[in-house]
Symmetry: C2
Subunit: 223 residues, 2 copies
DNA sequence: AATATTTTTTAGATTAACCTAAATTACCTA
DNA sequence: TAGGTAATTTAGGTTAATCTAAAAAATATT
C-alpha cells in the first residue's frame, strides 16, 4: 500500500465526520471550515485523495466528496486509534476526559498495528471511550451505544436525554416543567439508596431531585 | 519558543549521539550516515539549526558541529521520551526489548509535557529503560549506571566490559588471550554454585568458563 | 431572465525537506 | 610542496502542503 501522510489522514477523518453528520456529499467549504484551512487547499487535497492511484474518496467536480471503501477503512482505523488512546489517557494516566483530545490527535497517527492491538488488549478491549463514543474493533465494526434508562446511569456519569418510555401527557408536562427536553444534559450527582431517588444536575445549571419512577421512564445516552 | 519540527529533532538527537560517542565535533558526513541522508541535506539543516533565530548547534564551517545548551536540552528531552515509551511498551504492553525501538521513535515526538510526566509517574519514575540505558529526569539529569563486577551480574544478564580491578600484566595478558577488551560484550550463561565459576558467552560468539577470581576483577556495565 | 452572490476551482507563489551535480576546501601522501 | 582524494558546501531543482488572487460555475435574488 502507498503511504498516507498525517495530513491526508486528517482530511479523511474530517470527511468521515462531516459525512456522518450530514449524510450528504461533503462540500469543499465544509471541509475547509472543519480543517481550518482554505478552500483552495482542500481542492488540492481532494484531487490527490481521489486520484487514480489513491482512490480514497469519490469526487465529482463541484458536487462534493465522500469516502470510498478504502478511505472509510482508514478513517475508521484512525477513530479506533484515537479513542483507544483517549481511553488509555483517562484510565491509566489519570487525565480528565476533557483534556485528552489534542494528545490523542497526535497519538492516533502512529500506525504500528501491533501497538494498537497490544494497547487494546491492555485496556481490556473496551467498546466505548471515556466520552461514551464507540471504539471500532480491529475489523472496523462499531458497537452502537444503546440508549439506557436514567436509572442505569452511574453516579457522576453524564448523559443526554434521547427519549421517554412513558409518553403520557402528564409525564411529558412534568418534564416540560423541569425544562427537560430531547438533548438536555443530565448528570447523576447522587443516588439515594433509601428510596431510589436521584439528585440530578440538569443542563449543568440546576439540581433537581427525581424519583425512581421518573428516572425509569427517561432514556439517556451516555456522553 | 519557536516550534521544532520532527526532522529538526531527529538531527539534534543524531548530533547528541555522535558527540557522545566520539567526544569531538561532529562532521557533516557522520550525520549524513547516521540519518541515512546526503551530506548536502545535512549542510542545509546545519545552517538552519545554527541560525541566529534557532541557535541549537554551534557550527564552524567545515569544522563540524555540537549542540548548544538549548540544543542539548531538546535532545535530552527526546531521549527521555524515547526511553520512557520503550519502558512502557516492554513493561505494560509486553513487547520484547528488541522490537520497541521504531515505535518509540514515533512516540518520542509527541511533546505534551503533561503526557510525559504522567507516563513517567505511571511507570514508577524508572531510572533505566529496558536496555539498561539511563532515563533522564524532567530536569534532564541522567543517573549514571554504576559499573559492577562481573560477579555481580545475574545469570542471563548481559554487560559490556568497561574496566579491570586488577591491572597486573598477567591478568591483562590472560584477558587478551580470552579476546576480552574494553567494550567486549559478555553474558552470564550459568553460575556454578560449587566453586563460583561462571559460564560466560563472550561477544555473542563463544563460551568460556571464567573463575570467580577472574570475574571479581572485571568491571562491566549492564546493557 | 438578468444580475448578484457564493462556492469552487485554477494559477501562481512560498516553505521545509529533500535530492544531484558541480565547485570549493581540507587533508594526506609521495 | 604538489597533486590527488575525500569532505563539505553551493547551486539549482523537486515534492507536499500550504497560501492569495483571480477565474469559472452554481445558486439566489430581483
Amino acid at each position: 500500500m502507498f503511504p498516507i501522510s498525517k495530513t491526508e489522514e486528517n482530511y479523511l477523518k474530517a470527511i468521515f465526520k462531516l459525512y456522518e453528520e450530514t449524510a450528504t456529499l461533503v462540500s469543499t467549504n465544509a471541509i475547509a471550515k472543519e480543517m481550518n484551512t482554505k478552500a483552495a487547499s482542500v481542492t488540492d487535497m481532494i484531487q490527490r485523495l481521489s486520484s487514480d492511484e489513491k482512490k480514497l474518496i469519490h469526487y465529482k467536480k463541484r458536487k462534493g466528496v465522500k469516502l470510498t471503501e478504502a478511505g472509510n477503512k482508514i478513517a475508521t482505523s484512525l477513530i479506533r486509534r484515537h479513542r483507544l488512546w483517549e481511553t488509555f489517557l483517562v484510565e491509566k494516566l489519570n487525565f480528565s476526559w476533557d483534556e485528552v483530545h489534542e494528545i490523542a490527535e497526535e497519538l492516533e497517527h502512529i500506525k504500528a498495528e501491533k501497538l494498537i492491538d497490544r494497547l487494546d488488549e491492555f485496556l481490556g478491549r473496551p467498546k466505548f471511550d471515556p466520552h461514551g463514543d464507540p471504539i471500532p474493533d480491529a475489523a472496523g465494526n462499531f458497537t452502537f451505544r444503546k440508549q439506557i434508562l436514567l436509572t442505569e446511569l452511574q453516579e457522576n456519569q453524564e448523559g443526554v436525554v434521547v427519549g421517554v418510555l412513558d409518553d403520557s401527557p402528564s409525564f411529558l408536562q412534568y418534564l416540560d416543567k423541569l425544562r427537560m427536553v430531547l438533548g438536555t444534559k443530565v448528570k447523576v450527582l447522587e443516588r439515594i439508596a433509601y428510596d431510589g431517588s436521584n439528585r440530578i444536575l440538569i443542563d449543568n445549571q440546576y439540581e433537581q431531585i427525581l424519583t425512581n419512577k421518573v428516572c425509569q421512564n427517561l432514556y439517556v445516552k451516555v456522553t
